[in-house]
């Protein structure tokens, strides 16, 4: 069984996003970029399924500028077998990404796509569900546990107020939540080995997809700042203030 894992190059989660002074977006020039943390969880899950003998091959896909190949290398160092880079300078939005992934799925014929539940830059949280829709596959979003056996995936999902478990016939799309696993750090030998693994480059046109964005960003601003309040000296003072001043208890 083949597993396809889409990975996105995003501003590192430790970097505080800064709005550009002209209000056109968030500064990415000269900023540390990394693999989207939820995609790391997705790669880890796919690699574990391969180590368990459930999967035979893990293919990592990234889309965007040429530098996205670095993100694929990270996935390869974690244990993915090969990569596909869909190279374009066009800003890709989830609908376009889902269409490009659909085309790759039709070519590669994986039985499972494991994606991160959301990217930490645009925070849209849409690509996995959209890909499942376009393929006509069932979806298991916000997965905190995944078992694959006998042509079916059993997915435990994080829902409001608890968890639910679904049984999905394969092929299916899974999106990874935080608790699915703890991704490994790539060892130096594996980083070296990853350099020799193949990455194929294709263009959106090769896949017959028009990636033109549907959303135009009119402006990006910093959110209004909350003013720091006061320090209180004791629990008794705190409770008194909440009662008489803030009037919330």
């Amino acid at each position: 069984m083949k597993i396809l894992v889409p990975v996105k190059r995003v501003v590192d989660y430790n970097v505080k996003a800064r709005v550009k002074s002209d209000g056109t977006g968030v500064e990415t020039a000269g900023v540390k970029m990394s693999m989207n943390p939820f995609d790391e969880i997705a790669v880890e899950e796919a690699v574990r399924l391969k180590e368990k003998g459930v999967a035979t091959e893990v293919v990592a896909v990234s889309m965007g500028i040429a530098a996205c190949a670095e993100t694929i290398r990270t996935a390869l160092a974690m244990g993915a077998d090969r990569g596909i880079l869909v190279e374009t300078d066009v800003e890709l939005q989830p609908l376009a990404v889902a269409k490009l992934l659909k085309a790759l799925v039709e070519r590669e014929q994986p039985l499972l796509v494991i994606a991160g539940k959301q990217a930490i830059d645009d925070d849209l949280g849409a690509t996995g569900q959209m890909l499942a829709a376009l393929l006509g596959w069932p979806q298991g979003t916000f997965a905190s546990k995944l078992e694959v056996e006998g042509g079916s995936a059993t997915v435990t999902r994080e829902v409001d107020g608890g968890m639910e478990t679904l049984a999905l016939p394969l092929p299916a799309v899974i999106t990874a939540d935080l608790r699915l696993n703890e991704p490994r750090y790539a060892s130096l030998p594996n980083i070296m080995r990853a350099r020799k693994k193949p990455i194929e480059t294709v263009k959106p046109a090769d896949l017959g997809v028009d990636p033109t964005p549907r959303l135009t960003v009119l402006k990006v601003v910093e959110p209004p700042r909350r003013q720091a309040g006061k320090k209180v000296g004791s629990v008794a003072e705190l409770v008194a203030k909440l009662k008489t001043e803030a009037k919330v208890i």
Binding site: A17, T141, V159, T165, L166, L215, T216
Partner: protein, 316 residues
């Protein structure tokens, strides 16, 4: 322009985040709502009482019993031609279903909408709430999820001037495909309010040190009638399940009172609670960033402060 809002319900009442989605839809024109499930007549009646709702569509069939994404999305797509906007709360259900709907309609969804600027212009947070983007959609129909904390929910009942209840009408859809099968649900059994609907929330962070210590928060939550939340650090450390998580990658809350205990105030956590009316922080590190957003800060060891707080609330 008419909007259709997919409502989250518990078979008899409409959940608060969905009432916020109705509030957002009212800014766009006429509002119809969809109640899907199995045995949902009571929920439909509750939906018909919501202010601003002109029509309630009910899809009552076994295929919708567990509200799986595949049949729900197919149902919404079948209803879509009559609507300019399809909305849902940015709840686990809305986030699961709406992007699927959007793809089937060849639309780029706009998720976590925080403000409606115009029929095709919306504001949404990006980068864990560190920036607000105003976006214009080129699609002819909009598919949106609504950030509940950004819109005051409509009340559960209409005022005297708002006329009688909305008409309730059944829609076809029993034959929607449902390839997935529901196996089981494990819902947290607590008598406390749900995080996203609670008027008061008390959350613990890594400073709580263990799962057992969260019992200290339970005692205070019971006294305040508050929901218990947690930072991502506490979830990562395995102290509490992920559905406790407040933050950009968890739940977005905006209660009247938010009490942060042993939480440093990472950006991703602040994104989930900074719209709260009054924020209280208790942390032993006086440099903790949480104090920069707290209305009331107490620099103290939480293991001393929490029992004191419980006793003080008991006294009053």
């Amino acid at each position: 322009m008419t909007s259709l809002v997919l409502l989250d319900h518990d078979a008899c009442a409409i959940k608060q985040p969905s009432r916020s989605a109705v509030a957002a839809a009212r800014l766009l024109g006429e509002v119809h709502v969809l109640v899907a499930g199995h045995g949902v007549q009571a929920a439909a009646v509750a939906a018909a009482k919501l202010p601003g709702v002109a029509r309630v569509l009910v899809a009552d069939a076994p295929v919708f019993a567990h509200r799986l994404a595949e049949p729900l999305a197919a149902l919404l797509v079948s209803l879509a031609p009559a609507y300019s906007h399809l909305l849902a709360a940015a709840s686990a259900e809305g986030k699961n279903v709406m992007p699927r709907v959007a793809a089937l309609l060849d639309v780029q969804p706009i998720t976590e909408v925080a403000a409606v600027v115009g029929p095709d212009v919306f504001v949404r947070p990006i980068y864990a709430g560190n920036a607000l983007a105003t976006v214009r959609s080129a699609d002819s129909r909009q598919v949106l999820t609504v950030r509940a904390a950004s819109f005051d929910p409509v009340p559960t009942e209409r005022g005297p001037a708002e006329g009688g209840d909305a008409a309730i009408e059944a829609v076809a859809g029993t034959d929607m495909p449902s390839p997935g099968r529901f196996v089981s649900a494990e819902l947290s059994k607590s008598g406390r309010p749900e995080l996203t609907a609670a008027r008061r929330v008390i959350s613990g962070g890594r400073g709580m040190q263990s799962a057992d210590n969260f019992a200290l928060l339970d005692a205070i939550a019971d006294k305040l009638g508050a929901a218990v939340g947690a930072s991502r650090a506490a979830v990562d450390a395995g102290f509490v399940p992920n559905d406790f998580q407040v933050g950009q990658t968890g739940k977005i809350v905006a209660p009247e009172l938010y009490v942060a205990i042993g939480i440093s105030g990472a950006i991703q956590h602040l994104a989930g609670m900074k719209d709260s009316k009054v924020i209280v922080a208790i942390n032993k590190d006086e440099e903790a960033p949480i104090f920069q957003v707290a209305d009331y800060g107490l620099v103290a060891d939480l293991f001393t402060a929490l029992p004191e707080l419980a006793a003080e609330l008991e006294r009053s």
